[in-house]
Symmetry: C2
Subunit: 417 residues, 2 copies
């Protein structure tokens, strides 16, 4: 049996989605402007709610890093409001004609983008995601059902309340932004099975959350964010460039999904490159876990890696290292362990660059650049609702266009088949 209140929320979301689907750009943009203003105007109320979450977080012994993710400040709220205005300024994604022709029988076909309908989001900790997702969904004409983490519930309730009021102030239904206030696991599972009310579910969070969604969901899902990324340093690589790119990919922001987790080094340059790599990463105290040959070259600077290391997304100052016989072995390693997010080859060989790009089956394949660029903003998509690691519907960074579907509109004059 479905949870009654969740079902009610689904019914209201579906109803508002029907209205929102045909809302004009101007109205949606007014709503976004109203949200941005309201977040600034109601700062005190939002910060007071956040203070409750922070108090509970301290009491529960949450780590400092996690507390920092949860914390809202006046500056952060101003940034959140600015992000909403940025979304407002993006190109309208709905109603674009993306195909069509006149058929030999005179049928005039137009293929036009439409919203997906109701987008479900299940995510963790950071309250800014609540506003980001609501804004992206609103811009793309989708109602959203947001299910954030328990630890941010007061912040999320305050933010959603403020946003709903803002949306209503321009004449749209508040129900296009819904928060699941019951943060139990059971209710999350019900949300994953709200067929007929949720058109797509996008989980954003750790491997555990994603796995639970894939296992339990019966609504369509876009898997996001798993990032076991690799850099392969080919024998022909510019080694100084490789050390620079490696350092950037590992240490500029190790907690994100596009950070590199495993370095693969061609054996012909291993003895020369590995000490350079260790030097480049030393400033950040990166822990190195290497294969036998790596340990033979680096000595005490590296610990021995286990099978588990190849499959692990550390999201931390840790790097797995493996010396490979050739590019074939590098590609096979990536095939075996990658989450198909982002991989880089560092090479000066045109042939190897081409082969690597053709054969590595990941959302983003780089030649001589940091994996950190896999991002909606960096790819020019405007804003990003997540990075898909599946092949269906969307792959890699997902922007507003990926929150739309399309329909065929066919004008005839009595044609029969």
């Amino acid at each position: 049996m479905l949870n009654n209140s969740l079902m009610g929320l689904g019914v209201r979301a579906r109803k508002s989605a029907t209205e929102l689907a045909i809302a004009l750009s101007g109205v949606k943009n007014d709503a976004l402007e109203a949200i941005a203003s309201a977040v600034a105007f109601h700062m005190e109320q939002i910060l007071a709610a956040n203070a409750k979450d922070m108090a509970a977080a301290k009491e529960s012994g949450m780590s400092d890093a996690m507390q920092d993710r949860l914390l809202l400040t006046e500056d952060r709220l101003r940034d959140i409001a600015e992000a909403v205005r940025y979304v407002k300024g993006l190109e309208e994604p709905v109603g674009r004609v993306v195909g069509g022709d006149i058929r030999p029988n005179g049928l005039q076909i137009v293929k036009r983008t439409v919203p997906l309908g109701v987008v479900g989001m299940i995510y963790e900790s950071r309250p800014n995601v609540t506003v980001d997702c609501a804004a992206l969904c609103l811009k793309s004409g989708n109602a959203c059902i947001l299910r954030g983490g328990k630890e941010a519930i007061h912040s999320n309730m305050a933010l959603v309340s403020v946003m709903r009021e803002a949306v209503e102030s321009v004449g749209l239904s508040a129900d296009c932004i819904q928060l699941v206030e019951d943060t139990s696991r059971e209710t999350a599972t019900e949300l994953m099975r709200l067929n007929g009310y949720v058109d797509v579910l996008i989980p954003r969070g750790g491997a555990g959350l994603i796995a639970s969604v894939v296992k339990n969901a019966t609504v369509p899902v876009i898997e996001t964010g798993a990032g076991n990324c690799h850099i392969f340093v080919d024998a022909t690589a510019d080694l100084e460039m490789a050390a620079r790119v490696l350092n950037n990919a590992k240490t500029s922001r190790p907690s994100v999904c596009n950070a590199v987790e495993t370095l693969l080094v061609h054996r012909d340059c291993g003895a020369k490159f590995l000490p350079m790599a260790a030097d480049a990463l030393a400033h950040a105290g990166v822990e190195l876990r290497g294969c036998e040959q790596t340990v033979a070259i680096l000595g005490e600077r590296a610990k021995p890696a286990t099978e588990e290391d190849w499959a692990t997304e550390y999201d931390d100052y840790i790097l797995a290292i493996r010396v490979v016989e050739d590019m074939e072995e590098a590609i096979a390693h990536i095939e075996a362990y990658s989450t198909r997010h982002s991989e880089t080859i560092m090479t000066q060989s045109h042939d190897n660059a081409r082969l690597f790009c053709d054969r590595v089956d990941s959302a983003a394949v780089y030649v001589n650049a940091s994996t950190r660029f896999t991002d909606g903003g960096e790819f020019g998509l405007g804003a990003e609702i997540g990075i898909s690691t599946q092949k269906l519907h969307a792959r890699g960074p997902m922007g507003l266009a990926h929150l739309t579907s399309y329909k065929y509109i066919i004008n005839g004059s009595g044609q029969i088949r």
Copy 2:
């Protein structure tokens, strides 16, 4: 625990998909030509296998209509071979550049189509689907795992054996075409959960099959084929045209998903149009099931409809009829009961045509034309692997392009973020 032999089949499919993904057009087309020739060359063997299925079908008391769907003949095999040559002649769907630019930092991004990987198909009865799907998957660089119905197992085994041999004869791995020979329900469920080995599962069949896949699958699914389609005859409609279109949509091929199931009539033209509709459908003996007003108008020509009728896809010579107050009520009815496949408005009003197209949320929305046109061939997609009734990835008729994903290839010169 996963079925060992199914897992083995998944492993082999995945491996061959890796090779097939980078196979050149010429090689894939050679394989398709080899399949077409082989189907013709091995006719006797295939017909002998089909005879076994037909004998079992007769023994089990299968209906004549179903037996006809199962039957292969020399002519039908020649048609199947021709369909493969047609797929061969379609435009190469893999490797197309569908986006990209040079970023401000000099990164050169190319967005290129790639195969999905391994496509799972679960379908019923007709053995021609086995060859159609294999050909479409091969052309789009995908390995396929085919799970046809028990009643066609000997035909399918013969066809797959012939195709595998043909594929191997041009140097590709036979494992890119796999048949699940165990047709138990348990094995079908395992296939729906073969995460990591199946990139997308496309069920083709009745409502029961689709529902089972949606409930049980943990791999990404594209729902296809549910078609509770509507025709709304507006007060301004050209009634003769409406009767012609209705007759075509109901009787030209009632068993298919794009046939109309419910007629909605504006009350202002009900008294005039319903007798015309009944006359137009009389030649085919269509059973009419109407609302109270319909029965009041048509008398004994119509039976009373129940709530269940509005939700039923008859796939038969039966039509549900409802008289509505206005277009709002027609749109609300469609919103409540449609499977979001295809709907038609018959109208001479520009405003109503526009509103209907904007507000009806179905894959194909028609003005003054038969719903029967929702079809890959009719839409100019070449060939069709199914008609999606979901919004994610593909909506409406799916052709070769929908069997692809894309990847980003990024060329740099040492860029860091």
